[in-house]
């Protein structure tokens, strides 16, 4: 197979397409920056809540005595702040901008999206503070009090409608793989959310059907909302930054359809060993194992696209974050498939091993890719480059070292926690004592991650405040490349 190359464009075509992109970015500017900025704000709130919860698990006297800051509430509030706040708002920012760019269409009625952004933020606010002040639901991922739900439904409805509207007005006849993922996400997530709300809160199914619905939702939020948007983002950014098309169109088709088919079947492995019909867990184990297909398809596709261009990771922050996320995607998904096997789950279920896995997915993969996307997207929206390469370096290394430490500490601790839980001769107190140093290490990792987030937020605020140099030449690099950046930087016809 001949290696694909970027199409050759005349200087005039280049200029025309740059002007078109500028017009599209201008139409996106206000709403996408609003979604992105509120995402960053919730990331900071979520980090603080995470640190509180983490410290409390090894030092129970830390800030004890207040109902509002008790571990259970802070832990639930953390998940809402980062899951429904940061990651979901960043997902919306990604979806809107990528859809406009790839459809070569301006955002229609951009001002109405501010309503969606406001509703969403009110929803997250009610969720986080409703939980803190005692209205939590104890349904994992759906802990928000019921009065927050209408805000999400309305906000999500607007986002989905707008995304489809942009898609329908597309000027680009070729529909790129990222657009398939985005179309899937904006259709799947509202349905998922409504079914879960309906069957758990509005007309609750009782008994074990409830945890079944719960894990169908909880797992699919990751697989059919965050994953498609983040993988779609990587599919856009990697070719765009290195200046060559995606390795294989057919692999991307296989990756997309197998994800659509198998991921939605995988959720019940969270209930292995639980009081549910045996066939359900088996069906999900099969679904989880089949997930190896889309994961390998995406992994091979991204790796082959990157091949020969890995040296660019030294320079480009957007690429480095994205590639870190793409690698974590492969790792976390393969790990997830094996965790769904009964023998494996017998040890790791009910342990911190699962927590480590969840953070490798939600942070190592999804969050890192969104960081990458933001480093690429925000300058194009605000017209300013990032003011400080040092801040970006601090952000990257804190995030990368932080999540790696986090994952290692809890994976090792969680594995042995599971082995000891399975052995009734080990007294429970011994397991608690064994875990404390691992949980302490996790807190240290949490501090690192938070420092990274502060650096990121500082960069972000500086950019919005107009502190970076005007966008004219190349982007802000970690270090200036030895050779000038390839001229194809902006001009790849991924769209």
């Amino acid at each position: 197979m001949v290696a694909p190359t970027a199409p050759q464009l005349s200087p005039r075509d280049r200029e025309k397409s740059a002007a078109e992109r500028a017009a599209i970015d201008a139409s996106c500017r206000a709403p996408v920056v609003a979604f992105a900025a509120s995402a960053v704000a919730w990331l900071l709130v979520g980090s603080v809540l995470a640190l509180l919860a983490s410290v409390k698990l090894h030092s129970p006297y830390f800030l004890t005595g207040s109902a509002e800051l008790t571990f259970g509430r802070v832990r639930m509030a953390h998940l809402q702040a980062v899951g429904i706040g940061w990651s979901s708002l960043a997902t919306v920012a990604a979806i809107l901008w990528l859809m406009c760019r790839l459809s070569r269409a301006e955002l229609v009625y951009p001002k109405l999206l501010h309503v969606s952004c406001a509703l969403w933020n009110v929803g997250v606010f009610l969720a986080v503070f409703g939980i803190i002040f005692g209205d939590a639901q104890s349904v994992e991922w759906l802990d928000a009090p019921p009065y927050a739900a209408p805000f999400f439904v309305a906000a999500l409805g607007i986002v989905s409608a707008w995304t489809v509207a942009v898609f329908r007005r597309r000027r680009e006849s070729h529909v790129y793989v990222s657009q398939w993922y985005i179309m899937g996400a904006v259709f799947w997530f509202p349905w998922l959310y409504l079914v879960a709300q309906f069957m758990i809160f509005w007309s609750p199914a009782t008994g074990v059907v409830q945890p079944i619905v719960n894990w169908w939702f909880g797992h699919n939020v990751l697989g059919l909302w965050f994953t498609p948007a983040a993988v779609g983002s990587a599919y856009y950014l990697i070719p765009k930054i290195i200046g060559r098309p995606v390795h294989s169109y057919y692999l991307s088709i296989i990756g997309f359809w197998s994800l659509a088919l198998f991921y939605s079947w995988a959720g019940m492995h969270h209930l292995i060993g639980g009081p549910i019909p045996g066939w359900l867990a088996s069906a999900s184990t099969v679904g989880s194992m089949m997930m190896i297909i889309p994961v390998l398809a995406v992994a091979i596709n991204h790796h082959m696209t990157m091949r020969g261009h890995f040296h660019r990771l030294r320079y480009s922050p957007a690429l480095r974050f994205t590639v870190f996320g793409a690698i974590a995607y492969t790792a976390v998904s393969l790990q997830g498939s094996f965790e769904a096997l009964k023998d494996f789950s017998e040890v790791t279920h009910f342990t911190h091993y699962t927590v480590a896995h969840a953070h490798l997915g939600a942070y190592g993969f999804v969050t890192m890719i969104y960081f990458g996307l933001f480093y690429y997207m925000i300058p194009r929206l605000t017209g300013r480059e990032w003011a400080s390469p040092v801040l970006i370096r601090v952000h990257f290394w804190c995030a990368a070292v932080g999540i790696t430490t986090y994952f290692a500490a809890l994976s090792i601790g969680g594995w042995w926690q599971g082995r000891m839980l399975n052995n009734p001769d080990v007294p429970f107190g011994k397991i608690v004592d064994y875990l404390r140093p691992h949980l302490f290490t996790r807190s240290v990792a949490g501090v690192l991650l938070t420092v990274g987030h502060l650096a990121f937020a500082a960069s972000f605020v500086m950019n919005l405040g107009g502190w970076g140099k005007k966008r004219a030449g190349g982007p802000t690099f970690f270090v200036e490349p030895v050779q000038p950046a390839a001229p194809t930087h902006e001009a790849v016809a991924a769209s």
């Binding site: 832990r75 329908r168 409830q210 945890p211 659509a260």
Partner: protein
């Protein structure tokens, strides 16, 4: 794939398949489950929570207890371990006396929300009402878990309790905890040297009077010994009593008796 309709229909079909298979099928399979009665005259099992226990479920729910405590007993064949002789065994949940049998879907028919849990930072609670039926123990443990187990990392739920001056007789709901736990609710208290000197000056004789053997409080060692004793006695003027939330939460824990009645489908 250049047509939106193809993507839409494909996404609809793949997703519907899982919705039918993972949600509707189990919903139909499980919706007719009825409480179990061995003989016609027997009390049906399970029974819905009522009164204080029902209110306590809400407290459990609002405070995220299930993020550290599961409520499911796993099968006697679940989870491998090896005993001292190297023999392979299974079924730690039951051997840890978290329940006499595994729990099955019928144990949960009245649960809403059904808090199976996902983490065992603390022990399983499906059957805690049978395993530890002492209301007093649960209250002291809830007030400060370190008073029961030094290794515990469970949060103190002292905010479900009130520390109040004793007026007349002590309340029969008052916790039987010593002053090291009650003086500063939520923490383990120990007076500073100056504070201890002040206490000794004021009522050292009374405290000394309760001692079996003579303690010389002029020496540092004697002072420390008397302090250690004093800390393990209850406060005379104050008592700690549960508020409505604390009462309800313990009532809920005592009502958790999921693996108590044998069910035919739980046999293995």
């Amino acid at each position: 794939m250049d047509r939106g309709m193809v993507i839409f229909l494909g996404a609809l079909l793949t997703f519907s398949s899982s919705w039918l298979g993972l949600i509707l099928l189990p919903f139909w399979q499980l919706r007719d489950e009825q409480p179990y009665k061995k003989d016609d005259g027997d009390e049906p099992y399970p029974r819905p929570l009522q009164g204080k226990a029902l209110a306590g479920k809400k407290v459990y729910q609002n405070n995220g207890c299930m993020y550290c405590h599961s409520q499911q007993v796993r099968s006697a064949r679940f989870g491998n371990w090896w005993d001292a002789t190297g023999e392979q065994k299974t079924g730690a949940d039951i051997k840890r006396s978290w329940g006499q049998r595994r729990t099955v879907s019928r144990d949960y028919i009245y649960d809403n929300p059904t808090m199976l849990g996902t983490m065992r930072t603390g022990p399983d609670l499906a059957n805690i009402g049978v395993r530890n039926p002492s209301e007093a123990w649960h209250h002291t443990h809830m007030f400060n878990p370190r008073s029961a187990n030094a290794w515990s990392v469970m949060p103190s739920f002292a905010f479900f309790y009130t520390r109040e001056r004793v007026v007349g007789a002590r309340s029969d709901k008052a916790l039987g905890l010593a002053r090291e736990w009650t003086v500063d609710p939520g923490y383990r208290w120990r007076p500073s040297a100056a504070e201890w000197d002040a206490v000794l000056k004021e009522r050292g004789d009374t405290i000394l009077a309760g001692q079996a053997e003579a303690i010389d409080i002029k020496t540092a060692e004697g002072k420390k010994r008397l302090l250690d004793f004093w800390l393990t006695t209850p406060e005379e003027e104050y008592q700690v009593v549960p508020n409505a939330d604390g009462d309800a939460l313990v009532a809920y824990l005592l009502a958790l008796r999921k693996a108590e009645v044998p069910l035919p489908e739980a046999k293995e």
